[in-house]
C-alpha cells in the first residue's frame, strides 16, 4: 500500500494546527499555512499512488497558500455523493519551500505563481448532509 494513503483509504490528507487555516467568505479570501510539515517524497506519481518503487524519502515542507477575490459563486447539492456547499471560485497563489535529502527547494515569490482553478467555501457532507 502506498504509504501516503492511510489504511482507511484517507488520501494524502494530514492534520494541521488549528490556526493553519483562516477563511473569510465575505471577501473571498483564505490562507493555509504550514511550517516544516513532515511528508514523504515518492519520486513519481505512480509510486505515490501504488508504492512498489523506490522507498519514499522523508521530507519537510513549508507553504503559504492564499485564495483571493470572487470570480463566481456556486451552490452545489449532490445527492450522489451526499454533499452540499456554497463555493466561491477565485484565484490563488503559493510560496513554498522544502528539504529532501541533499536538496533544498525554494519557490519564487507567491506573486509569480498562478492557479488553474481555485475555490473556497463552506460544505457539509456525510452525516451532516441535508438537502436544504
Amino acid at each position: 500500500m502506498n504509504p501516503g494513503i492511510a489504511p482507511s483509504g484517507l488520501f494524502w490528507t494530514t492534520a494541521l494546527p488549528e490556526n493553519a487555516v483562516k477563511v473569510n467568505l465575505g471577501d473571498g479570501s483564505a490562507v493555509m499555512q504550514a511550517t516544516n510539515l513532515s511528508v514523504l517524497d515518492f519520486g513519481d506519481f505512480g509510486n505515490s499512488l501504488f508504492g512498489g518503487g523506490v522507498p519514499p524519502v522523508p521530507a519537510t515542507v513549508s507553504f503559504t497558500v492564499r485564495w483571493s477575490g470572487v470570480l463566481d459563486r456556486a451552490k452545489v447539492v449532490s445527492t450522489d455523493t451526499g454533499m452540499t456547499g456554497e463555493f466561491i471560485r477565485n484565484t490563488a497563489q503559493m510560496e513554498w519551500s522544502a528539504t529532501v535529502g541533499d536538496f533544498d527547494f525554494v519557490s519564487a515569490p507567491a506573486e509569480t505563481s498562478a492557479s488553474d482553478f481555485a475555490e473556497i467555501g463552506q460544505e457539509r457532507n456525510g452525516t451532516f448532509f441535508t438537502r436544504g
Binding site: 483509504g9 484517507l10 490528507t13 506519481f45 455523493t81 457532507n125
Partner: protein, 159 residues
C-alpha cells in the same frame, strides 16, 4: 497531489480502456506494474520533480488514531473510483466533491497552482530552476465525525 499528473494519468488510463478495480491496490484488468508504468510514463514525459514532493507520511497515523477522519466514499472515475478523491475542474465536474473526508461540516478550499522553484543541492551546490505544475492544495477546517464516531473540531490539509 498534482492535478496535472492526475489528469494525465486519467487520460492515459482511458486510452488503454481498462476499468480500474475498486480495491486500493490498482486497476482491474491492468496489472499494478503496468498501471504504474503507464502513469510513470506520463509523469516522465511532462512532470516536474518539485511537484512530486508533497506526500503526507503515514508517520501521522499515530496522531490520527481513533480520531482519524473517515475518507469520502467512492472517488474519481478517472482513477476507477479506487482512490477516495475527486479533482473538480481537472478530471471531474467543477461541482465535484473538493475534499477527502466525509461526515464534515466546515470551510474548504482547493486550488491547482503552477510556478517556479529553485532546487539547490547542498553537497554539489548545483542550483536548478524548475517549474512546478498543477500542485494540488486543499484544506478542510471545521467539525467532523472521526472513525470512532465522536465529533471533533479539526483542520486538515491535502498537500
Amino acid at each position: 497531489m498534482n492535478a496535472t499528473q492526475l489528469r494525465a494519468a486519467s487520460e492515459r488510463a482511458s486510452r488503454v480502456n481498462s476499468p480500474y478495480a475498486q480495491a486500493n491496490h490498482g486497476p482491474k484488468g491492468l496489472s499494478r506494474r503496468e498501471f504504474v508504468r503507464t502513469t510513470a510514463g506520463v509523469v516522465a514525459a511532462g512532470a516536474v520533480a518539485a511537484t512530486g514532493l508533497w506526500r503526507p507520511s503515514l508517520a501521522y497515523g499515530a496522531a490520527f488514531a481513533s480520531s482519524d477522519p473517515v475518507p469520502i466514499p467512492g472517488g474519481t472515475p478517472g482513477l476507477g473510483g479506487a482512490f477516495h478523491i475527486y479533482a473538480p475542474a481537472a478530471i471531474d465536474s467543477i461541482d465535484a466533491e473538493p475534499i477527502t473526508i466525509t461526515d464534515f461540516n466546515g470551510f474548504v478550499g482547493l486550488t491547482y497552482l503552477s510556478g517556479t522553484v529553485t532546487r539547490r543541492n547542498r553537497v554539489t551546490r548545483e542550483v536548478v530552476e524548475l517549474p512546478f505544475l498543477g500542485a494540488d492544495m486543499r484544506f478542510m477546517h471545521g467539525i467532523y465525525r472521526g472513525a470512532d464516531g465522536r465529533i471533533r473540531q479539526g483542520t486538515f490539509g491535502f498537500v
